[in-house]
């Protein structure tokens, strides 16, 4: 009899988890998505505009070519090429690790680079620098791809015709003409340098040298995004945290430290209620910080100032004026109780303030923190250098006045991201000589007379100051400049007339001064320098060359020099009240930061943690606002292809082939206009949880790359192949007076639509109690509560803690069980490790770092926007995001006619709670993917890993079809051997996003090259690079496991007799996602080792397996989430009760019956 398994029915009432607004609307398109493993069209070729006939033509041609010469019949002659002279430390096949640092906006991130044969392949955090762990954020992980970016600028360009036609110049010629250039500077009058702010002491020293040589020179600095308040916060010491419009866990400078501290505070799940930290968030759009909040209040950004003044008054801090109360009723209670909670936790409380808030509000919040006694306990003053630099606005005034004759732009991209009112692109064209130094030929290069290629931070000697902890860091180069770039230090030194450096001379000179060890000290200096380079930081006192701005002056900057109370005006604190048809636009930072990482394919394809959007930025608004504006989400009634679309960029045109996919990915466009009449058009995404009447847009997208040379113009591909055509430029609306948010914005609905690649609609799990959470009081009553949710309630819990006790449809192989098993009287392979993983949902903040870390470690390709639209994204680990609401509509409501926005008319979309769940292959012991594989390409090994033999896979995709977690990924194309651009080829009208067989290979006649050679250098040599037609998935970083085991074998033979221990030490290595996780939420280890952290966590009462009732025995399990509501707050009764309500409403009998039925079906 056919075996058929039915999941327990979804409860018809109670709290409902949902993943997207489409799901709630229950559109036919969504139903279609649910029922398919891959979205419709994912497995079909016709979507890529190649007809079957065209395909046959190509295949015929390829075969004909292959036949000529019979080259395939002879094995190639391979060579082994050793060094001529050996290289120090270099052992072929073994990795070397070097300390270095990544310069960031407000201080550097210490890193350790893994290098194979001279090429860095992976970056990790440097754990020995005080205050840092081995983790990084997603930007630190993705930086390695920028190093190898084939689109980086490679040659000097000099203008024949500025902005249009440039000629290439060699470095020799440039340096020959350089003395004449600097001689012309005389005393520097009329010369300006526009640089990015930097904490590098060497940069600071060289700046001094340049200004000494040219005393009249104007030194200007510009940074598009203002860093947060000048403090670092140790959240592990905080009991009560309030965030006022600050996404301190997602998009701020200290996210790595903030997440680590926050996770420590959440982990304190002791038996008394006070021990776990509590998070309040007041914010305008739903961020990951808001998703983690125990209590969240939606509030427009312009109203946050009023909230701050109200709270300040309740905390006894006077803002020196009278302010509008933000609201009454529940909101007032909310603020009162929040203030009381903060007050009660004096000395263990902290208030964050978003950097987009006016400075005055930040000052007020700083004073509130002082009143709460946070300074010196929870927060420390952060080192912020005080540099005498001209602002970009003043520089613009000088350019307008005509006093600047030569401008040197050091890094940055001011033509793209300068405040809109300056019209900086036009201003730059007025300066007779503009020398631009940068990593990319970009918007600023097109305004310059000379463009100089810059060097990536892994290509030159530098130094920096660590973020927050003020350690002096060494920025060690890992590789010679790949594209002939020079560093800004080299350029500054050349300007200052210093001799060219061959190695670390400039940094050594700074090091000498800072550490107080003269280079003449000989051995002592060598030792100190070597230690500095080895450790990555200087373990001793340094005297920094820059003066620090301190928090004391920060809080007093609001016009009161005596250090007393602030005097703020309501104009400073809050924006203009909004009219009826006016909206407030908030600028945010997305996953590509301020746009400087826009050409990084990993970051572009990384789903936004909240919207799950890739490859674009959008305008987000609340469902109510959308309804007011008459904006509909797409439904099947929309005829997508009939809508006009005028954009010629292929990335912006709809596919128009597969109706269901198109319908799901067509989003309405609007035009927004700011009060000063700047306007832009962009698509809209309805964002639950956003404050009504606010709009938000991420900065940095919408890059336009110029084609400056004839060679560039001759090829079809853009110069910035990844960044160009992705998203919309929000900087064109952003002025220096309103950098954070602007009120009075008008919105006009357009008739056009735009395709967006959102991953949230794929891989749906139909609400089966996958994410579990409980409020803290309930957790204290019954710590094992999460194990009794849903169908799990009716399964007896044995001594193996839940997940192992389910009956299975298959005969369990009893892997690695220490218990006697049939056929294995002594147990099976007990001396082998049994790998397992626990993911703590209580500390996971959904920051996405693990996704990029996995991508870097496992050679996971970037697939491009249209492949994501078809559900072909390749990430092995994904972060599932669920929304939950307090008062969902009755099931009938979903069948009733929808409101004008296409959504069920209900308030419950407005303010949902949000939960994250990292999901990768669960390494089932009874893996359903295995029996369906016709070639045994995926099997469970002796250590419990569900391994993949890629070379054996024939691509039937049966396994993906049978995976209950949808954790498998299929290479629909040869993603590793094709360009990421999406440009029409002149031949046959196909796009070159499609791999065209041998003809489109690296040297194929179509010349649109495959994977650039530089990207191959990034690949991890220990992981197979998969080709088309191969299924792939997470294998717990098996390359790291095998390497660790072999390393132990080597060590065991240290005596030459092999008598050492071959058992791996407890938790002696980490897998990639675990290593990068700032929250330490991912724990991997050996389940057969009772002392391993993972074994201890498996014993935790919160441990449960996702879909464990299927009997697949997943090796990965989760720890349920605990929320910590304040009982005095409005709505506290609903917080964290998600699973509880579901439980109460779904009668026990139903579950029992369901299980019985299921088992019957399985056994008959």
């Amino acid at each position: 009899m056919k075996r058929e398994f039915h999941h327990p029915p979804e409860p018809k009432s109670g709290r409902k988890y949902w993943r997207s607004v489409e799901e709630l609307a229950n559109t036919p398109g969504f139903q279609e998505q649910l029922k398919r493993e891959f979205p419709q069209g994912a497995a079909e070729l016709d979507g890529d505009e190649v007809t079957r006939r065209g395909f046959m033509k190509f295949m015929g041609a390829s075969l004909a070519l292959a036949g000529i010469g019979l080259t395939g019949c002879r094995r190639p002659l391979l060579h082994m090429v050793p060094f001529s002279k050996g290289v120090e430390w270099e052992i072929p096949g073994n990795a070397l690790h070097y300390a270095t640092a990544m310069p960031r906006r407000a201080g550097a991130l210490p890193l350790v680079a893994t290098c194979y044969n001279g090429r860095p392949t992976k970056l990790e955090g440097n754990p020995i620098v005080p205050g840092f762990t081995g983790s990084t954020d997603h930007l630190g992980q993705a930086a390695i791809l920028d190093l190898y970016d084939p689109d980086r600028s490679k040659v000097i360009l000099t203008a024949n015709e500025r902005g249009n036609d440039y000629a290439e110049q060699s470095w020799d010629d440039f340096w020959k003409g350089f003395p004449a250039l600097t001689d012309g500077f005389a005393n520097g009058a009329g010369v300006a340098i526009l640089a990015e702010p930097s904490l590098s002491p060497t940069r600071e020293r060289l700046r001094g040298e340049v200004q000494k040589k040219f005393p009249q020179l104007v030194w200007a600095e510009y940074e598009p995004w203002v860093a947060d308040m000048p403090v670092t916060v140790d959240l592990s010491k905080a009991d009560v945290i309030l965030s006022l419009d600050s996404d301190f866990l997602g998009a701020s400078e200290g996210t790595v430290q903030n997440i680590a501290g926050f996770a420590a505070g959440r982990r304190r799940l002791g038996k008394t209620q006070e021990t776990m930290s509590r998070l309040y968030v007041v914010e305008s759009r739903l961020t990951i910080t808001g998703g983690l909040a125990d209590h969240r209040l939606r509030m427009a950004s312009s109203n946050i100032g009023n909230v701050a003044t109200t709270l300040a008054a309740k905390l006894g801090v006077s803002a020196g004026g009278s302010f509008a109360a933000p609201a009454s009723g529940d909101t007032d209670t909310w603020l009162t109780e929040c203030a009381r909670d903060l007050q009660n936790a004096k000395g263990r409380a902290y208030v964050f303030c978003g950097s987009q808030q006016p400075t005055e509000v930040q000052h007020l919040v700083a004073q509130m923190n002082d009143a709460l006694g946070a300074r010196g306990t929870v927060s420390q003053v952060r080192f912020v250098p005080k540099v005498a630099a001209t602002s970009i606005t003043d520089l613009a005034a000088q350019i307008t006045a005509g006093s600047i004759k030569t401008l040197i732009v050091l890094g940055g991209n001011p033509a793209f991201n300068a405040p809109a009112e300056l019209n900086f692109t036009d201003l730059l064209k007025k300066v007779p000589t503009v020398i631009r130094h940068g990593l990319y030929v970009d918007e600023t290069s097109a305004t310059s007379t000379t463009h100089l290629p810059g060097a990536h931070f892994l290509e030159y000697w530098g130094d920096n100051i660590s973020y927050g902890t003020t350690s002096y860091l060494c920025q060690q180069p890992m590789i010679l400049p790949l594209y002939n770039g020079i560093s800004e230090l080299d350029l500054l030194a050349a300007l200052a007339g210093l001799p060219k450096a061959k190695g670390p001379e400039f940094v050594q000179a700074t090091f000498t001064a800072l550490a107080g060890i003269a280079a003449s000290a000989g051995q002592a200096f060598d030792d100190a320098w070597r230690q500095f380079v080895h450790d990555g930081y200087y373990n001793g006192g340094v005297s920094l060359p820059m003066a620090a701005t301190d928090l004391q002056s920060f809080t007093q900057q609001a016009g009161d020099a005596s250090g007393g109370a602030l005097t703020l005006t309501s104009q400073q604190v809050a924006g203009k009240p909004l009219g009826d048809d006016e909206y407030e636009l908030v600028f945010t930072l997305g996953l590509i930061d301020d746009g400087r990482y826009a050409n990084n394919g990993w970051l572009q394809e990384l789903p936004d943690p909240v919207s799950r959007l890739t490859w674009d930025n959008v305008l987000t608004m609340s469902p109510k606002t959308a309804e007011k504006l008459g904006i509909k989400i797409s439904t099947s009634n929309d005829n997508f292809s009939d809508l006009p679309n005028t954009d010629v960029n292929p990335r912006k045109t709809p596919i128009g082939i597969i109706p269901h996919v198109d319908m799901m990915t067509a989003f309405p466009m609007v035009e927004i206009t700011t009060p000063d009449n700047r306007s832009m058009q962009l698509p809209v995404l309805i964002a639950p949880g956003q404050a009504d009447s606010t709009l938000s847009i991420a900065l940095g997208w919408g890059r336009t790359a110029p084609r400056l040379t004839k060679a560039d113009r001759d090829v079809v591909t853009p110069t910035l192949r990844v960044a160009e055509g992705a998203g919309f430029n929000a900087y064109q609306l952003r002025t220096s007076t309103t950098p954070g948010f602007v009120g009075g914005v008008k919105v006009k609905k357009l008739d056009t639509t735009y395709p967006l690649a959102i991953t949230q609609m794929h891989n749906s799990m139909e609400g089966r109690g996958l994410v579990r959470e409980v409020p803290l009081d309930l957790y204290h009553q019954d710590p094992a509560f999460v194990q009794k949710i849903g169908i799990d309630k009716d399964v007896p819990q044995g001594d193996l803690k839940g997940y192992q006790n389910y009956e299975s449809a298959y005969d369990p192989p009893a892997l690695n069980s220490k218990k006697p098993q049939p056929g294995y009287p002594d147990g099976y392979q007990t001396d082998r490790p049994a790998w397992g993983m626990v993911i703590d949902l209580n500390t996971c903040v959904g920051c996405n770092s693990c996704v990029i870390a996995c991508q870097a470690e496992n050679n996971i390709p970037v697939v491009g926007k249209f492949q994501v639209i078809r559900g072909r994204e390749m990430h092995w680990i994904r972060i599932d995001r669920y929304f939950a609401s307090d008062n969902p509509p009755q099931p009938d409501a979903l069948d009733t006619p929808l409101g004008t926005s296409g959504l069920p008319n209900s308030d419950y979309l407005d303010d949902p709670q949000m939960l994250f769940q990292p999901m990768a292959c669960q390494q089932c012991e009874n893996a359903p993917c295995e029996p369906v594989c016709p070639v045994n390409a995926t099997v469970t090994n002796e250590e419990g890993l569900n391994v993949m033999a890629y070379n054996r896979c024939i691509g039937t995709r049966y396994c993906a079809n049978n995976c209950p977690y949808k954790a498998r990924r299929f290479n629909f194309f040869n993603y590793n051997d094709r360009p990421i651009t999406n440009v029409k080829l002149p031949v046959l009208g196909v796009t070159n996003e499609l791999f065209l067989g041998p003809l489109a290979g690296r040297d194929g006649p179509l010349t649109y090259k495959g994977s650039p050679e530089s990207l191959m250098l990034q690949k991890n040599p220990n992981v197979t690079v998969r080709i088309r037609g191969v299924m792939e998935k997470c294998t717990y970083c098996i390359q790291r496991i095998e390497e660790a085991k072999i390393d132990q074998l080597r060590k065991s033979n240290n005596d030459g007799a092999g008598s050492g221990n071959i058992t791996l030490a407890t938790d002696s290595f980490k897998v990639a996602c675990q290593q990068v996780c700032p929250a330490e939420a991912i724990v991997f280890g050996n389940l057969n080792d009772d002392n391993a952290k993972v074994s201890l966590l498996k014993q935790d009462e919160r441990n449960y397996g996702v879909l464990a009732y299927l009997g697949v025995r997943p090796r990965t399990s989760y720890l349920g989430r605990v929320r910590n509501p304040n009982p005095a707050m409005p709505g506290a009764a609903n917080v964290g009760h998600t699973s509880v309500i579901e439980e109460d409403d779904a009668p026990k009998a139903d579950h029992a019956d369901a299980k019985k039925v299921n088992l019957e079906k399985l056994t008959t």
């Binding site: 060579h79 033999a949 092999g1058």
Partner: protein
């Protein structure tokens, strides 16, 4: 109507039919053979850029394998020696021998010598030398008696079935890690080592598997990842 085809044509058709059938069968067999592990390069002996004789260096001069392949115990790759290693001796010994001209050129110019690769494990198979030599698998098991070769050739098929033959029955191949008498070469690197009198490989192997806790992976993940 006259006969268009001469009488012999009848036979031509039959002959052609037989011929085509034979060709077809041969093509199928050839392809079949090509895709089996039996098709391997045992005996592959390419000409190297330098006529290096292992026989002279190992048997006559007594060099250890690890003098040149120095990282075999610590790395997955057993390295080819850098030109520098050759020049350690050949600065003094045979310094005018014309056969060594490519080595001297490489040393002078810094251009590496491009040796021809003989044993080619596919990229998707991750063989690790250090894991094997540290558990008693001798060089000779996979590479044959290289010490007696003038030009190195491939001695074993190195197909997956051949690998598994040892992974399933390691006792038939493993050797002690340490020499029985101190000062002697480890049996792993002594290519002429013989099982001591009074015991057999089977007995010794079983004891070694137990003592050294040899437990080679037999699943895909051990080599393919």
């Amino acid at each position: 109507m006259a006969n268009i085809f001469p009488p012999g044509t009848n036979q031509t058709v039959i002959k052609a039919g037989i011929f085509l059938n034979v060709v077809g069968v041969l093509v199928v067999l050839a392809v079949w053979y090509y895709f089996t592990p039996k098709y391997s390069r045992v005996g592959y002996e390419p000409t190297q850029p330098v006529y290096f004789q292992h026989d002279i260096h190992v048997n006559q001069l007594g060099l250890d394998c690890r003098y040149c392949h120095s990282y075999v115990e610590v790395s997955g790759h057993s390295n080819f020696p850098a030109t520098q290693t050759c020049m350690n001796c050949h600065r003094q010994v045979q310094k005018d021998n014309p056969k060594l001209q490519p080595i001297r050129d490489s040393w002078a110019t810094g251009t590496p010598v491009a040796w021809v690769k003989i044993h080619n494990v596919p990229d998707y198979a991750y063989f690790n030398h250090s894991a094997h030599v540290n558990r008693g698998v001798s060089c000779v098991s996979c590479h044959g008696n290289v010490d007696n070769m003038n030009t190195v050739y491939q001695a074993e098929s190195q197909s997956m079935g051949w690998c598994l033959n040892c992974h399933r029955n390691p006792q038939n191949f493993v050797r002690p890690l340490a020499a029985t008498t101190p000062g002697e070469k480890s049996p792993v690197f002594d290519l002429e080592w013989k099982v001591p009198d009074g015991t057999t490989q089977g007995q010794l192997g079983l004891q070694l598997v137990k003592d050294l806790k040899i437990n080679p992976p037999k699943d895909c993940g051990g080599c393919h990842r």
